[in-house]
Symmetry: C2
Subunit: 167 residues, 2 copies
DNA sequence: ATAAACTGTATCTATTATAATTACACTAAT
DNA sequence: ATTAGTGTAATTATAATAGATACAGTTTAT
C-alpha cells in the first residue's frame, strides 16, 4: 500500500495527541519524515472530507475535524483512495477477449467483497483506540523492521519552514 | 496489487479448465496477455509450492499440481507474496525515532490482522469455485472497465514460441 | 546423435508509479 | 508591508513493475 495512507494516519495521530494546538505542514512533516508539500497535499484531501480543519495565513495549520473517537481508519483509507486490493490485469489494449472479461469480472467481484470486509474491519479502529495502543507500546520494539544505520541524526533534510517550531 | 497474482490465478484457471492437457508458457502467455518469460517466472514460483507440476523438454509445460478443488486463492496469494496490505512507511534511514517506531508497531499489528482476515476469506475461493462462477458469467459484462479500442486483433505481440499451438 | 521445443533463470531495457523538489499565488496575523 | 502559513501545480528523481532478449539445460522425436 502506498505511503499516503500511513502519512495520513500518522498526521491524524499527531493532531489527536495535541488537540489544543495547530500544526503546520512543516512541523508535521518532521514528525512523519516527509516534506511539507506532500503533507499539505495529503492534508488537503483529509480537509475535503472533513477529517481535519485548516487555517491559512500566519499561525495557521491543521486541526482535527472530528473528535478523535469518531475518526476511523476506514474513513482515512477511503479518503486517500488506497484501493490496496484492486486487482491489476494485463490487457494492454483492453477488450477483445471475452474469456478474460469473464475471469476478470468474477475475480473483481470477489475482491470487491474483500475490500468491503477490510473496510468494515478498519471502521473498528479509531484514532483514539490507536493512541491508546501506542501509549501501551514498549519502547523501540520494531528494531527488527529496519537495520540501525551508522549516522543517526543526518535527517535535517526536511527542516524547511523551520520557524514554526515544535511546541 | 501487482499483476503477478492475477496472472497466476488466470493461469491456474486455464490449467483447471483443461486438466488433461499440458500447457506451455507460450500458449498460457497468449491466454493471459503477457510474455512467456513472465509466465515461466510466475509458474516456477507456483511449482516450488506444489501448485503446479512442470515438465521440461519437447512437449513439456504445466499441469495443475492439486485437484482444482484443493487449490485456493490464499495459497496463490501467499505464493506470489503479494503483501497487498503491507504498510509503507517513510523513514529514510530508518530508526532514530522511537515515537514513529511505536506508531508503526501498532499499525503494523493492526494490518497484520487484516491480512490474516483477508487470507481466511481467500481460502474460501477454490479454483473450482471460480470456474463455476465464470461459467455462469454472462458474456462481455465488464465493458465498463476499459474502453473498447478500434483495432481488436492486433495482439499477435506475444506470439513468440508459437509452434506449440492451442489444442 | 542431433534437432526441435520446451523450462529455468538472469540480465538488460522500457515504462509506469511514487515521492521529492521547487515555485508561486493566495491568506491571515502582526 | 512583512512574515508565516496553506493550496496547488509543475518538474525532476527514484523506485517498482513489466517487457525483451538470451542462453544453458532437458526431453522427445527422428
Amino acid at each position: 500500500m502506498n505511503s499516503e495512507f500511513t502519512i495520513a494516519v500518522h498526521c491524524l495521530i499527531v493532531l489527536a495527541s495535541a488537540p489544543d494546538r495547530v500544526w503546520s505542514s512543516g512541523s508535521l512533516s518532521r514528525k512523519v519524515h516527509t516534506n511539507p508539500a506532500r503533507v499539505r497535499k495529503i492534508m488537503s484531501a483529509l480537509r475535503r472530507n472533513g477529517l481535519v480543519t485548516t487555517k491559512e495565513g500566519l499561525g495557521g495549520g491543521y486541526r482535527l475535524g472530528f473528535s478523535s473517537g469518531d475518526v476511523n481508519l476506514a474513513l482515512v483509507y477511503r479518503t486517500v483512495s488506497c484501493e490496496a486490493l484492486k486487482l491489476n490485469w494485463c490487457s494492454d489494449d483492453g477488450a477483445g477477449d471475452p474469456e478474460l472479461a469473464r475471469v476478470r469480472s468474477v475475480m473483481d467481484q470477489a475482491f470487491c467483497r474483500a475490500e468491503t470486509m477490510l473496510e468494515t474491519y478498519l471502521e473498528q479502529w479509531t484514532i483514539d483506540s490507536l493512541l491508546e495502543q501506542i501509549k501501551c507500546e514498549p519502547d523501540v520494539p520494531i528494531s527488527d523492521h529496519f537495520p540501525v544505520s551508522a549516522h543517526k541524526d543526518k535527517s535535517t533534510k526536511y527542516n524547511i519552514n523551520r520557524i514554526g517550531g515544535e511546541g
